[in-house]
């Protein structure tokens, strides 16, 4: 009997609780931001935009072309994120260090397979924005909605550009998909490569038409859209022109999922040229300092430069600072960390060979290492730290070793097996030879790769004003200049050259050469335009994509080895000599033809078999 009482009590409590709780649960969820909150004000939309901007595929200081370490964002783990990677201090894992601009920590061409970039989550965010904005004209006003829509089209194009240059044709998804829709609608087929690039061009046209001429720093305006269009259309034009000559055959190609008909090349080149021309008069090359070296250094460091079109900012306070300063210079000149990627002699020789050898083949004798910099183009001196240069009051004292005496030619000496050369080397910077330090504090040294392997260090973007004690990891805030007018002139010149407009190309290139402190050209050809691009945009993560779109990567990087310039001290003469030798790890870099496109990520194919056929040879 007692148990029945208990039973009745339990039931009454249960029923009572459930009846009352049902009413209380009927409130809007407090942990989800609803569309009303976001779209009721411009500030709300801005907070949504922040996520979209943060994830843009901007190949900045922290970008890891091999995917990098896993990133944990609010408890969600991203594997091989590439953009915004985990442990984002290793800024020497850049694409320059597989292309021969630099040699770095990669053992070979380790980035060519990509990291499975597939940003459809971010694209969904943009699609949601584009679908929602027109419903909120009341709270936001028509001009604001139009400007924001233009910005959204620009952002969507940016994501698709990141996809198209990796995979060719991808599914073009313009509306947020309904997760409840039938699988057949969710598993979207790939579009043709041509359609993908056309979509990117059209989106950027919308961005140009709808956005205002100016914007907050770090956000897009109409000229940012035009600038990106010149970059994207130049890429597409090259795919059409060069990709129809040098290609890997396969089903994806015969279906047009990769590859563009050659006949479309000039349409894209014209679009690139026209887009670049739109920026004329609105942006200009940074030319504030009459000292050409200092001017080129400051271009990457001074805020408010008229050359900056689109930048990405960093902040110590917000935990987004990068580590360029601590990872591009040797520990000798910083407060912490180490460097691991170094400019090659091959790169430096783009400016012409350095005068290190006499006419008879013997190495030229220098009283001081710094003499090597005499007569070198200011832009190169501002891009690369040479032996004898100074940073934070310390000298780049690169010295590979000591020759007690030296006779013969440079070529004969370098050709000798290492064990029959008469030089003195050392395993650390403390070792002395008759009271003279054998290797420099800044290398080169084979004991590790934290000192230069080539005799050079990167100077571009290095903040020389930072006191040494503050040069630490996550302490660099100089913005990444994603789009600058210098690149636009190069895009314009290359497109003009491809269209046969040499006069325009010549004038564009000479503007850059004048600012660089180089002599002007009197005539121009495609090779000069391309070399100017390599020199101007060095270490800016452009050359890897240039090699891909020119379809020259498999030729330039065909079992390629790169060189350094090793300074030695000749003891009995009290002079310095420089010998061109293989970089100290003598690594090999080979780009296979299939790498012109990355393979569609296997995990995505498993989710959506309609992505097949995969790109040729994957």
């Amino acid at each position: 009997m007692k148990s029945i009482h208990k039973f009745i009590i339990a039931i009454s409590i249960g029923v009572g609780a459930s009846v009352t709780s049902c009413q209380k649960l009927n409130i809007p969820p407090t942990n989800i931001v609803t569309p009303d909150v976001i779209y009721s004000s411009e500030a709300g939309v801005r907070s949504f935009l922040a996520t979209i901007y943060r994830n843009l595929p901007i190949e900045d200081f922290k970008y890891r072309p091999d995917g990098g370490d896993d990133a944990n964002v609010n408890g969600i783990v991203y594997h091989l994120p590439g953009f915004n990677p985990g442990n984002p201090w290793m800024n020497f894992y850049n694409s320059a260090s597989v292309t021969g601009e630099e040699v770095g920590p990669y053992g070979g061409l380790d980035i060519a397979g990509g990291f499975g970039y597939w940003p459809y989550g971010d694209i969904r965010n943009v699609n949601t924005l584009i679908a929602e904005l027109p419903k909120h004209v009341g709270s936001l006003s028509q001009p604001t909605v139009d400007a924001l829509l233009g910005e959204a089209h620009f952002l969507r194009a940016y994501y698709y550009f990141g996809l198209a240059k990796r995979y060719g044709g991808v599914p073009i998804i313009k509306e947020p998909q309904d997760p409840g829709a039938p699988l057949s609608q969710l598993q979207v087929h790939r579009d043709k490569e041509e359609a993908t690039w056309d979509f990117i061009g059209a989106e950027l046209d919308l961005g140009y038409q709808m956005m205002p001429a100016t914007s907050d720093v770090g956000r897009a305006n109409k000229y940012v859209a035009a600038a990106l269009k010149s970059r994207a259309m130049l890429y597409a034009g090259c795919i059409a022109k060069y990709g129809s000559v040098n290609f890997v055959d396969g089903q994806a190609r015969s279906l047009g999922l990769v590859g563009i008909p050659a006949s479309k090349a000039n349409t894209y080149f014209q679009a690139a040229y026209d887009a670049a021309k739109l920026l004329e008069g609105h942006y200009s090359l940074y030319n504030a300092n009459s000292d050409k070296v200092q001017n080129y250094v400051d271009l990457f460091l001074k805020s408010g430069s008229p050359e900056n079109i689109f930048i990405k900012q960093y902040s110590i306070a917000n935990n987004t600072a990068h580590s360029w300063d601590a990872t591009m210079s040797p520990r000798y000149m910083t407060a912490n960390a180490l460097s691991r990627s170094y400019p090659t002699l091959d790169f430096v020789s783009l400016w012409g060979s350095l005068p290190v050898t006499n006419a008879d083949g013997t190495p030229k004798r220098f009283n001081d290492r710094a003499e090597l910099m005499q007569g070198v183009e200011p832009r190169l001196l501002a891009t690369v730290y040479f032996p004898g240069a100074t940073l934070r009051g310390l000298t780049f004292d690169m010295q590979r070793g000591i020759y007690p005496s030296f006779s013969g030619t440079a070529a004969a000496e370098v050709a000798k097996p290492a064990n029959s050369r008469s030089y003195i080397l050392a395993g650390d910077v403390k070792t002395l030879y008759q009271g003279k330090q054998v290797i420099g504090f800044t290398g080169p040294w084979t004991g590790g790769d934290e000192l230069t392997r080539t005799g050079f260090y990167v100077r571009k973007y290095v903040d020389y004003n930072k006191p040494q004690a503050t040069v630490d990891l996550y302490r660099s805030e100089q913005p990444w200049i994603d789009l600058r007018y210098g690149e636009i002139l190069l895009n314009r010149a290359e497109a003009a050259m491809e269209l046969g407009n040499t006069a325009d190309a010549l004038s564009d290139i000479n503007q850059l050469r004048d600012r660089a402190g180089a002599t002007s050209y009197v005539s121009i050809d495609l090779n000069k335009v391309r070399n100017e691009r390599r020199m101007e945009l060095a270490f800016e993560n452009q050359y890897y994509w240039d090699l891909k779109r020119w379809r020259t990567a498999d030729i330039v990087l065909d079992r390629a080895h790169f060189k350094g310039l090793m300074p030695y001290y000749v003891f009995n003469e009290n002079k310095y000599i420089f010998l061109a030798e293989p970089e100290l790890y003598n690594r090999e870099y080979t780009f296979q033809k299939q790498f012109y496109y990355e393979g569609i990520p296997g995990g995505e194919i498993a989710k959506n078999p309609n992505l097949l056929p995969n790109n040729p040879n994957y």
Binding site: V248, D249, D554, D558, R559, E588, Q592, K593, Q594, G602, I605, P609, L612, P616, N617
Partner: protein, 239 residues
């Protein structure tokens, strides 16, 4: 109460026992596939090396969109994989210096399956001779093309030298091999008769050592693959 607990335990143990009796009834990877790659011009095994020809297998009886798997060929021109799952596969050889095979083979693979593929090389290497003077090895050979029309550009010719019989692309000593390459960069049809006779020189071999050498001609196809000669043994005498 005790009864309830014992009932519960009984139920749990029945569940546990029945779960254990379920066994994996899918066959293990006990099927195998092997065969030869045959040079259609000589009917001998195809001269190949590591990282060259691969047999691509796609198991179409498991999934309509299978992930391809590959059997790399051995340097003697044979291939074998003894840990395959039984099933129907779509099979195609890829990656070497031979005229591409477009018709893939559909085949049921079970224990002891085998198939030989006949492949037409891009370039055949003939009259391969060698001559060692002191420490300098000279390799001479003639090249010919079974099919000329549409042949990929010939990039270069080079020796491959190694200290083991496993010698070829990716298995050679760079200072004796890659650095002694001769650039050609011409279409076969544009080669003068004299240019089809190639001489490669390898200086400064090490005295008292045995080397294995062969020559290769690299073509600008999708894989930048090479046709190889047979492997020869070189004993460099002491003085």
């Amino acid at each position: 109460m005790k009864k309830l607990i014992s009932n519960f335990l009984l139920g749990a143990s029945i569940l546990a026992v029945s779960a254990c009796t379920k066994t994996d009834n899918y066959g293990g990877p006990n099927a195998s596939f092997q065969g030869r790659l045959i040079d259609a011009t000589t009917h001998a095994n195809f001269e190949t090396s590591q990282n060259s020809i691969q047999i691509q297998l796609e198991q179409i009886s498991w999934s309509a969109t299978p992930t391809p798997q590959f059997i790399p060929s051995k340097s003697d021109g044979t291939f074998e994989d003894s840990k395959l799952f039984k099933g129907t596969y779509r099979i195609i050889p890829k990656g070497g210096a031979f005229w591409p095979v477009y018709d893939s083979l559909k085949m049921e693979i079970k224990q002891g399956s085998s198939h030989d593929f006949e492949l037409t090389p891009y370039i055949t290497i003939k009259n391969f001779t060698h001559d060692l003077v002191g420490t300098t090895l000279t390799l001479k050979f003639d090249i010919d093309a079974p099919i000329v029309a549409g042949l990929p550009t010939i990039i270069d010719a080079q020796p491959y030298v190694n200290t083991t019989k496993l010698v070829g692309a990716g298995a050679s000593i760079r200072d004796f091999s890659d650095v002694n390459a001769v650039t050609i960069n011409k279409e076969f049809i544009d080669l003068a008769p004299a240019e089809k006779s190639i001489t490669l020189t390898i200086p400064n071999l090490i005295r008292g050592r045995t080397f294995f050498a062969r020559v290769g001609v690299r073509l600008n196809d999708s894989f930048k693959s090479s046709n190889f000669s047979e492997v020869i043994q070189i004993d460099v005498p002491n003085q």
